[in-house]
Amino acid sequence: METLVQQVLDGLMIGAAYALMATGLTIIFGLMDVVNFAHGEFYMLAAFLLFQLSAVMGVPYFVALPVAVLSVGALGVVVQRTLVRRLRGGSRLNYLYATSIATIGLSIVLQNGAQLVWGAVPKSIPQPFPTEPILLAGVALSPVRLFILLTSIVVIAVLGIGLMRTLAGRMVRATFQDREAAALIGLPVDRIDALAFGGGTMLAALAGVLLGSAFQVYPTMGGLATLKAFTVVILGGMGSFPGAIAGGFLLGVSESMAAGYISAGLKDAIGFAVVVAVLMIRPTGLLPAVRRLR
C-alpha cells in the first residue's frame, strides 16, 4: 500500500511537469497552429541556464530560477517575431510542414549549441533543499519533489485565473476561439501571438528548471520531453487546457505505475500505447476543446 502511494506521488510530480509542458504547447498550438518541435529544447535550455547561474556563477537558487525562466521566455518571443511569424501564407498543409521543419531546425541548433557550450556530460544543479525526506503518515516525501509539485500547481492555478479573469487572458482566449473575428474587433492578434509564444516557452522553461533540480541536466534531455508533451496534448484533446493538465497527471501516474508493476524498460512506451488506445475509443482525446479545429 505504501509503495502504491509512493508510486502515485512520484507520478504526480512528473505529471505536474508534463502538465506544464503540455499547457505551453497547447497555448502555442491553439493560437498559431504551430506544432512546436523545439519545445523540449526550451525546457533543456532553461535547466542549463539555471545550472550556469547557480552552480557556475554562484547566484542564489531562488534568484537564478526566475531569471532562467524569464530569459527563455524572452528567447521564445524573439523566435516568434523572427521565425514563426514569417511562415504564414500558403496552404494549411504547407504551413504545418514549414513550421515543423523550422522548429526541428531550431531544436537541432539549440541542442547542439548547448552541447558545444556545456558538453555532453550530465550536470547536476546544486539545490537548496534538505535531502532528509519528510515522513508523512508512513510515506517519505523528498522536499525537492514537494517543491516541484506545489510550484506547478500554483503556476497552473495562477495561469488559469489569469486566462479567465484578466483582460489579457480574455484577449488570448478570444484569439484562441476565432482568430479572424478577434482581428476584426481590433485585437492585436500579432502581439497576442508573441505574448503567447513567450508564455508557452516559459511554461516549458519552468518544467525544465523544476525537473532539472530533481534529476540531471544534459543537452538531449529535451527530445523525449517534447514527445511526452505531444502525447499529453493528444491524450487530453488538442487545444484544451483542462485536457492538457488532466493528461499530464494521467501520463505521469500511468508511467510511474508501469515502471513499478510492469517493466521499467517499457515505461516510456506506455504513454504512447495509452494514446493509441484512447484515440481508438475517443478520436478527439479525453476532454476535447470547444473550439473547432480549422
Partner: protein
C-alpha cells in the same frame, strides 16, 4: 519548362551523375550516394502520404524498421536468400501498413501525426524489450551481404562499394517506376482531390478511405523495400532503425525537396545526405550550421528547392514580375 521536360532533364542529370560516380570509383562518395539512394526510396514513399494524399505520416520509419527486421530474421534465422527476404519484407510492411491504417485513417490533422508517431515509438520499445526475437538493444548482427551473378554484368556484391551502389540505385529505379505509375493514374488524381478538399472529393464520389488505404499500403511497401536494402547493405539491424532521427531526416528530405512534387523527394534525399558531409570541415559546428540551413531553406524556399526557378532570375532584359497570388475561393 513543363513538368515532363524537367523530369527528363532530371533523369539525364541523374544518369550522368551515377555514371560519373562509377567512373571516379571513390568508396567514400559511393557510400554517400548509396545512402542517398536508399533514403530517396523512403522519401518517395513518405511523399505519397505526406505530399500527395495530404496526411502527415510522422511514424513512416516504422515500415523501414519492419522491412529491416523482416529481412534480418528471415536471412539469419530461416536461412532465406536476401532477394526472397526482400520480397517478404515488402509484403510484411504492406500488411503492417494496412493494420496501422485501420486505427490511424479515422484521424486527421495533428491527431494523425501523433497516432502514427505513437506506433513508431511502441515499435521502438518492443524491438528493445522483445529480446527472444530481436536480441534487444544489441540487435541482429552479421546479415549475409546480398550477392548475385548477373548475366552479361558479372558478379554484383554489396560488400563492394560499386555493387552496393548498383543495388541501391536499382531499388530507387523500382521505387521511381512504382511512384510514377500510381501518381500519374486515377489514384494520384484522387489523392490530390482528397488533399485539396476531402469533403468536395467525397461529394463527387471519391472513396477517400479506400484511396487513403492504397496510399498507405504503397508507401509502406516502399518503406519495407528501403529497409530491406538498408539491412543488406549495413549488415546489422538494431532498434535504432526505428530512431526518431531517421524519421526527421526523411521528413526533411521531402519538405526541403518539395512536398507533392515528383523530383523533390529524390533531390531532397541527396541534399540531406550530402550537405552534412560537406559541413564536416566545420567540425563541431556542423550540426548547428545544418540546423540554421534548414531554417533558411524553409524561409526562402517554402515550397521546396525544386520549386526554385533560378533561370528566371538569369534572363536578361526582363523585369522580374512577382507571381500572381492565387484567387481566394469563396462562396459564389
Amino acid at each position: 519548362m513543363s513538368a515532363r521536360v524537367r523530369i527528363s532533364l532530371g533523369l539525364a542529370v541523374a544518369t550522368g551523375a551515377a555514371a560519373a560516380l562509377f567512373i571516379v570509383d571513390d568508396a567514400y562518395l559511393m557510400r554517400i550516394a548509396t545512402l542517398g539512394a536508399i533514403f530517396a526510396i523512403l522519401a518517395l514513399g513518405l511523399n505519397l502520404t505526406a505530399g500527395h494524399l495530404g496526411l502527415f505520416d510522422f511514424g513512416y520509419i516504422l515500415y523501414f524498421g519492419i522491412g529491416g527486421y523482416t529481412t534480418a530474421l528471415l536471412t539469419l534465422r530461416a536461412g532465406w536468400s536476401w532477394e526472397a527476404a526482400l520480397v517478404a519484407s515488402v509484403l510484411m510492411s504492406v500488411a503492417v501498413g494496412l493494420l496501422v491504417g485501420v486505427v490511424v485513417l479515422r484521424l486527421r490533422g495533428p491527431y494523425f501525426v501523433i497516432a502514427t508517431f505513437s506506433f513508431l515509438t511502441v515499435a521502438y520499445y518492443v524491438a528493445i524489450n522483445w529480446k527472444e526475437v530481436t536480441n534487444g538493444p544489441l540487435g541482429l548482427i552479421g546479415l549475409p551481404a546480398p550477392a548475385f551473378n548477373l548475366p552479361a554484368i558479372g558478379r554484383v556484391e554489396a560488400l563492394d562499394p560499386a555493387g552496393a551502389l548498383a543495388i541501391a540505385l536499382t531499388g530507387l529505379l523500382i521505387a521511381v517506376a512504382v511512384v510514377w505509375r500510381v501518381v500519374e493514374s486515377g489514384a494520384g488524381r484522387a489523392w490530390h482531390a482528397i488533399r485539396d478538399n476531402e469533403d468536395l472529393a467525397a461529394s463527387v464520389g471519391i472513396d477517400a478511405t479506400a484511396y487513403a488505404f492504397l496510399a498507405l499500403a504503397v508507401s509502406a511497401g516502399l518503406g519495407g523495400l528501403g529497409g530491406s536494402i538498408y539491412a543488406g547493405y549495413v549488415g546489422i539491424v538494431t532498434p535504432e532503425i526505428f530512431a526518431f532521427g531517421h524519421m526527421v531526416n526523411v521528413l526533411l528530405m521531402v519538405v526541403i525537396g518539395g512536398t507533392g512534387t515528383f523530383l523533390g523527394p529524390i533531390v531532397g534525399a541527396f541534399l540531406v545526405e550530402t550537405v552534412p558531409e560537406l559541413l564536416r570541415v566545420a567540425e563541431s559546428f556542423r550540426l548547428p550550421i545544418f540546423g540554421l540551413l534548414l531554417i533558411a531553406a524553409i524561409l526562402f524556399a517554402p515550397q521546396g528547392v525544386v520549386s526554385l526557378r533560378p533561370w528566371r532570375a538569369l534572363r536578361a532584359g526582363r523585369p522580374r514580375v512577382p507571381p500572381v497570388p492565387p484567387v481566394e475561393e469563396g462562396p459564389a
